[in-house]
């Protein structure tokens, strides 16, 4: 017997935990899928999946629920990354759900984040997935702070915060009956800072909008919004209304989400190490700075998750 005197660094520990969770999903579930948006958290998970399963193929396909409100460069990056990995990418879009009539918008330009739940549940049913792996972190939002690493959803995709499965040691219970679903969160215990440090250490590529760039901005609802953004379908979104002034600014995005509700921050950080430094000194939380849909009420994330959101 020997004593392990050296302890793992916090990044090594978090990495080992996440790999363990991914392998538990592979070992316990019969038809899992990895949700991949091209955003920084899901790019970390792809790296972790490589470390978990290579030289084998991933024991799950990748899937993106596309709101249609995405930056072209993020979509390109998503496709490029899937191709480099040689893994299967499934794309299901909110716009198809709109055509089917299962998603009905109140106003044409409204944020579509919450509508992703409908498209996600439709895709889960279409493919019979019993587990979706996602990049949510507990430090993002207070409703997430209480969610399990393997989180059970019923037939309607609903999360019941008062009736979660107890989760002890590292003995995860990913069992489900047909029609039910597990959401697995391998980087639950990571913070925004951990994610950036990991991206730096592993030298991971990212879509360009994460780095400082010049962009036309309008002020809308008290937040900076990117103006005149071309969508993948050729439309242009966030067109300035009468009286809204367009200013060209140096900005970057801290999160990648629906264009209509994801605000950039003013920044000159044009590489990962500068972003790490900026993350260490920022005074505003990731979602506070950038996610307008979480600010509707004290409980908006909790509400969305109960309805099947990630």
């Amino acid at each position: 017997m020997t004593t392990s005197k050296k302890t793992l660094s916090h990044l090594d520990w978090l990495e080992a935990e996440a790999i363990h969770i991914l392998r538990e999903v592979a070992g316990q579930c019969s038809n899992p899928v990895l949700l991949f948006s091209g955003g920084k958290d899901s790019l970390c998970i792809l790296r972790l999946a490589e470390k978990a399963f290579r030289p084998g193929r991933f024991p799950f396909p990748l899937m993106h629920i596309d709101t249609g409100h995405n930056y072209q460069e993020v979509i390109n990056f998503r496709d490029q990354r899937a191709e480099e990995l040689g893994e299967r990418l499934i794309v299901r879009s909110v716009e198809d759900s709109m055509k089917r009539g299962t998603v009905v918008l109140k106003t044409p330009d409204e944020p579509r984040n919450k509508h992703q739940s409908v498209t996600l549940l439709e895709a889960i049913e279409e493919f019979g997935f019993d587990c979706c792996i996602g990049g949510a972190r507990r430090d993002e939002e207070k409703a997430r702070a209480k969610e399990r690493i393997m989180s059970f959803r019923d037939e309607f995709g609903q999360w019941d915060p008062k009736n979660q499965r107890p989760e002890l040691w590292n003995l995860y219970n990913a069992r489900s009956h047909k029609g039910e679903n597990i959401r697995a969160f391998p980087i639950s215990n990571w913070t925004e800072m951990d994610v950036w440090q990991y991206i730096e250490r592993e030298n991971l590529g990212l879509p360009s909008i994460y780095f400082s760039h010049q962009r036309d901005i309008i002020m809308r609802g008290g937040a900076m919004m990117p103006a005149n953004v071309p969508l993948t379908n050729g439309e242009v979104i966030n067109v300035p209304k009468a009286g809204e002034q367009v200013v060209n600014m140096q900005v970057r995005f801290r999160t990648v989400g629906d264009i209509t509700c994801t605000a950039p921050v003013i920044s000159d950080a044009d590489n990962v190490s500068k972003i790490v430094l900026e993350t260490a000194t920022t005074t505003i939380t990731e979602r506070g700075a950038t996610r307008l849909d979480d600010q509707t009420s004290d409980a908006s994330m909790e509400q969305r998750k109960k309805e099947g959101y990630f």
């Binding site: 020997t2 004593t3 363990h20 538990e24 084998g56 207070k142 008062k162 219970n173 069992r175 505003i284």
Partner: protein
């Protein structure tokens, strides 16, 4: 009390035990605030809420306010996880509600913690709930206990009262065997003012010990204090079968996380339960080839011989082998609203292995407040009992005292798939 706390740069998981009245939420809020984890927008948010509720100062306990349902009822109903970092160390706090009916939440939070902060209200001293929290921390094997005597500001920072509470606690800790088994430290504090958490402040010059944060910074991480045997439950077997790549044709990698001990290339190993023997040919982590690997690392192990091995098997060192068992004796905390039924068959999940299991005998249950052993025929939610399980499949177990990973299991109800019990093997 041991005195070998050492410095390291890794990660510490700890839990806080106490009820709302002990100032637990304030303590966590203060730790997050004083380590500058709380950012301006969150502070503005809770400051607005404090004003709305008619409070003069910012109520730091609002930082740990969780779900809508909890805010409505003004209680905590579930374990929440919080994070902060000091630059030298990352911390994961498991914040568990302290009431008796939440024993199961405390056990859940304790299962991954290496240190517990047990809060005592300086005005009230050692209470029944202090005993309950201490017993549970002990049962779940948390090696380091910090007894935090809080609200010192409300007793004028009186040293004599503090000393009396410490003496009372030590006496009780000796009664239950906690004092001998665990590293116990004491600290006087006021979470509300911030005395002795991150900053010392000037109110208690008579206390010359470490601040809470100093204790946390120096507390040993899990697995660093005693030598442990190598235990590697196989999670997944990688067989790429790539016809295009001759190197991969015979690749057979056993993937898993080292639950304890360490391993090096060339070590003689045995695969349980079948007992096949081989040697470690290679250890991989991502694209890196390792010469050795240690506790908590997730790696891929390749063996010299072609051995039929699958998920649920366990690789151990040949000179540290253990005999698979088909009966286990354990302390079990019941987690489900549906009581245990001795007539039913359950699933026991131990490491990566599952077995059907039936209850043998229930020896007694433990009153978590008085620690009395009582005869019982059934087990309800939050009960803790010593009992035996008969197993359909052999398991490779260690006693929980020697190994918190291979000594632990969960009980699953096959009809609902719920996790209904947590077990610690005697």
């Amino acid at each position: 009390m041991s005195n070998h706390m050492q410095h390291n740069d890794s990660l510490l998981r700890f839990m806080t035990c106490g009820s709302v009245d002990d100032g637990k939420s304030t303590l966590i809020g203060r730790l997050l605030f004083d380590t500058k984890t709380i950012l301006a927008d969150t502070l503005t948010q809770i400051s607005n809420t404090s004003k709305k509720r008619g409070m003069e100062a910012v109520d730091l306990s609002l930082l740990t306010d969780g779900l809508q349902a909890e805010r409505e009822q003004g209680i905590t109903i579930d374990v929440a996880y919080r994070y902060f970092s000091t630059g030298t160390r990352k911390y994961i706090i498991a914040d568990a509600p302290g009431h008796e009916q939440y024993t199961r939440n405390m056990v859940t939070a304790a299962s991954t913690a290496n240190l517990a902060i047990i809060l005592i209200d300086a005005r009230k001293g050692v209470l029944t709930q202090t005993r309950r929290h201490s017993y549970l921390a002990h049962l779940v094997g948390i090696p380091h206990i910090v007894v935090a005597v809080n609200k010192m500001d409300l007793i004028n920072y009186d040293q004599a009262t503090y000393n009396k509470i410490c003496a009372d606690y030590i006496q009780f800790a000796e009664e239950i065997g906690l004092a001998a088994a665990r590293d116990i430290r004491f600290i006087p504090m006021s979470a509300l003012n911030g005395d002795m958490l991150v900053d010392r402040l000037e109110n208690m010059p008579w206390y010359t010990g470490e601040t809470l944060l100093e204790m946390l910074e120096k507390a040993p991480a899990a697995h660093t204090e005693q030598s442990e045997q190598f235990r590697f439950p196989v999670q997944f077997v990688c067989r790429p079968h790539a016809s295009s790549d001759a190197d991969l044709h015979d690749f057979r990698g056993f993937m898993g996380r080292i639950e304890s001990g360490d391993i090096a290339v060339g070590d003689a190993v045995t695969v349980l339960p079948n007992g096949y023997q081989s040697k470690v040919k290679a250890i991989q982590l991502g694209e890196n080839q390792l010469q050795s690997a240690q506790t908590e690392q997730s790696v891929t192990i390749l063996l010299e011989d072609e051995i039929d091995t699958s998920r649920g098997d366990m690789i151990v060192k040949t000179d540290e082998a253990l005999a698979p068992v088909k009966q286990i004796e354990a302390f079990v905390c019941w987690l489900s609203e549906t009581p245990l039924s001795t007539a039913r068959t359950y699933i026991v999940r131990h490491t990566t292995r599952e077995s059907k299991a039936k209850i043998g005998t229930i020896q007694y249950k433990v009153d978590v407040n008085t620690l009395e052993q009582q005869p019982t025929a059934d087990l309800k939610m939050n009960d803790i009992a010593r009992l035996t399980f008969k197993l359909a499949q052999p398991l490779m177990v260690d006693s929980y005292k020697t190994n918190r990973a291979t000594g632990a299991f969960i009980v699953i109800d096959e009809s609902t798939n719920n996790t209904v019990g947590a077990g610690m093997i005697v």
